[in-house]
Symmetry: C4
Subunit: 303 residues, 4 copies
């Protein structure tokens, strides 16, 4: 699937190098605009794949996908979507990560809201695309019908026929509001911790390997912290699809299982990313010895 | 399993370096011919392994393989088969990808049909090889017997004893023709998007890592979009084995579950690859900043 | 999720590079202290994720996680936690490995106890953090209630409602004391063998790949040797969480299933790491030919 | 888990660098002897882990391991065991691969039988070690008792209480002798094909990645061709453990399910490796264009 060796010394007709021609015409010169586009497209890909993975678990009642595919699928969906835009916008795809980077002086004050808006737009359309695909297959999903059956016309967010969990996340029934905050702070904190471990140049991880390691980090976090709230860990991943699902399920998506639950996956991941990220900076990142100081040490020793 | 360090300063008898001797005699000088051979062999390997993975799921009624093995197995089967021929033909192994590369000026007008024909030949024999292996084990497969039991002699493509799904794909019963087109356009679109992300030199992914990332991409797409149609995503992967299965199951393979279904995995993936690939080019690929322009920007800043 | 390309020639406000500023102030100059901190933080991360993975298997009665997620999750948890501290302390995270490195002259006599104490402190708080998260979700865990129901008020370490296995490990009922020693010596021996294979510079594995291969090694060992004792393979991983669980479950954690079982995951892994590590050194590591001697050999041959 | 940064400018006591001291004394100068030792140790590790993975599937009746762990576990067991000896002997660990390399002029006529004998010795003790570990846990395994219960004292190779399948492989009851030959030729042929793809320097795969790709290849082959005979694919992996199991189960291990079945995993993999390997050489390896000829082609074109 690479183009290498497909061209040679033959003289047969070939279309012109359209991608480079088009690029020379349409390339966006504004850094801000191209970053916004990249964040939107990357988050679209992440949510389109991610919510479809949940749909494929949920709609056939777990006979196709199992939880391990949620973990592996979402993990590698991060790998793919971050890879696709990392050389344009850096591939945050998560407002909580953007806020963390702002706090570290790595993102300016204009880019921050632009990134966050772009991530939400991408996530909205990613969830919508999943709906189109799986709505088209309505006999399995029975999204509308099932809701009508279940609650007599008032759309069902949860319960045996509930399907809103494909788009936004909802906590397990046993969770209290406080425990959901804790769960999301911890989960996103670990994610942000891993992100800073991976991108810290003093840890010398080749940049081509970063997206794979981001994916592995999410996979592991899903294995340990996925059950309580479905690990949103990302305000855009949760809030934008929830807005989309409002047009399908009505306002219950903002009140189930309790009023203002929907704020938890916005507030807690943001707090969590800051806590987890600065936990890394203060406890580990600040103390990695520089190459030069290591050399000094060993020279001292040799003397 | 490498030959390094197995030769040294001993003087014991060793056969001559036959592979290099043979190579000097039989090496195919025609670029077109060697590319055709490579595409045929690579697609043969992909389909032989891939259809056997489905057979190992289907025939023991899911007691050996589960869906996660379909996702992981097909994903890494792509890794292996693309690796095996990428330095000869580029390792397309998929007519939809070849059409996309043609549209991008990366494949000439003579190579395009040659690649496609070679891919179909390889896929045909790959499916045939699976039949030979699993037909030999007829007591588990009961391919012919079961069909006779099931439909009184008219071979069964589907149903409890249907086994034609090992070779070609069939949509779930709830799918409408339109929704199958959508499903295949989307699935192959995402695959083509990922392929262009991975091979775009501006994304700086080492070429030795490409086949692994192609495999991971297919794995993820299978986790999110596998259930509706079995994710053929590749005209040669579906049509050539279907022709093969015609000789076993008869013409029903072209009419089940409806007349002209078999055209969907030919037309839709081709459209999908073009849409997904150009989606990447227009929205992302054209906007990745060049190394030079990044340097300029930072010089401007420093002044 | 990387910061590359997020800064450019714009002049918008950006916070100062706080992480580097802070680093210049708080960087720990004492090698011993920063190594101790790193071992504690790394082991905290490992145990927090690891015991949560077991909680997510155990508390929903296996409906979310299955054993493959234990293997994959713990494996990649090692990858992440070792990566996070490997450029500070080396990332042992396991007293048995530290003892092995001491025996090889790679760790001094003061660092050895400091590393071991730090690992225990990290593991203690990692287990405590899992308790906080999953205790908060008490309706699923019913940790205290279930124990009361089960044994009439005396906390249950094992049995249908036993939950102590989330923190420390307990052998299967069929194991005899001797066989648990054997099991842990063998499991940790294989782990130590793999660690030395991976870090031996003569095996030429790029250092950025080490944590991934450590994780894969643990994954494989869990597939082959996980069932008998739950593969602690690490004194700190078992003993420190056991002390934590003492405050929840009482002294039975030190006597179940028999008195002094808790010593097995301390003594046997330490012996095992020494045996497995030196098995590698004596049987393989000592015999890898040096680059120079290989060149000599081939020169001899050419003459 | 690496030793980097654990030494510095402190002056505390540290043991001498024993591994290098010992190496300078015991390093085996005979290339043949050290290669034999490496092949024996590497095959020991492979079989010890591999047969334990099967034991952990079989003895708890599939409640711990499932088939995906067999595929992943054996795949990565190859990765680990090949990595451990690849810089000494090349890491064949399989007589069929050694025969293929001999046929390609990569192994001399004295090393060939030495390698094969060493692989068998390693495999014998690897299976024996698994027996010791899982025999010690006899209540779960009930290896001897169960056999007695099953057949009144004559040891049971197969059936509900049969446990001999932990050590050597046995075909499914529906297989005919001919179909087992076919199955093993195909499986080992694909493995040998993959091995040559990976080590062919013209495919430019970094050598540190080879063991990982060998493992992925075996994983995929297990997903597609594991069910019929348990994919031995390796004469030493099957025959040496069968000899070991003779001392436990008696001569039935050589006659079940039919006389001379035990010859199939010896003869067929050897044939298969030759067929698959030379299939690669003739159809692909001989036709990969050299760097120079590619440059010529492009110069021709530019003129």
């Amino acid at each position: 699937m690479s183009a290498s060796n497909t061209t040679g010394n033959n003289e047969w007709f070939k279309l012109p190098n359209l991608p480079e021609l088009i690029r020379s015409v349409i390339q966006i010169k504004s850094k801000l605009l191209r970053n916004a586009l990249a964040e939107a497209v990357g988050t679209f890909i992440l949510l389109f794949i991610g919510t479809s993975i949940i749909a494929q678990l949920h709609l056939p009642h777990g006979t196709i996908n199992t939880w391990v595919q949620i973990n592996v699928g979402w993990g590698f969906a991060i790998t793919i979507s971050v890879t696709s835009v990392s050389h344009i916008s850096g591939g945050h795809l998560n407002p909580a990560i953007s806020v963390l980077f702002f706090s570290m002086g790595m993102l300016d004050i204009i880019s921050l809201p632009i990134y966050i808006i772009a991530q939400h737009i991408g996530a909205f359309f990613g969830a919508a695309a999943t709906y189109v695909i799986y709505r088209a297959t309505k006999n399995i999903a029975k999204i509308v019908d099932a809701i009508n059956n279940y609650d007599g016309g008032i759309r069902a967010v949860s319960g045996p026929n509930g399907t809103a969990g494909i788009f936004a996340t909802y906590p397990q029934p046993y969770m209290s509001p406080l425990s959901t905050y804790l769960d999301q702070i911890v989960g996103t904190g670990l994610l942000a911790f891993c992100v800073l471990v991976i991108i810290d140049q003093r840890n010398k991880i080749p940049s081509a390997a970063h997206p794979l390691l981001f994916g592995i980090s999410l996979l592991v976090i899903g294995c340990g912290f996925g059950v309580n709230c479905g690990y949103p860990l990302n305000p855009a991943r949760d809030f934008a699809p929830r807005i989309f699902s409002y047009f399908i399920y009505g306002k219950e998506v903002f009140t189930h299982p309790w009023r203002y639950w929907f704020l938890v996956p916005i507030i807690a991941p943001t707090l969590g990313a800051l806590i987890g990220g600065w936990f890394y900076i203060l406890l580990l990142g600040s103390h990695i010895p520089d190459q030069e100081s290591l050399q000094e040490e060993s020279q001292t020793k040799e003397r």
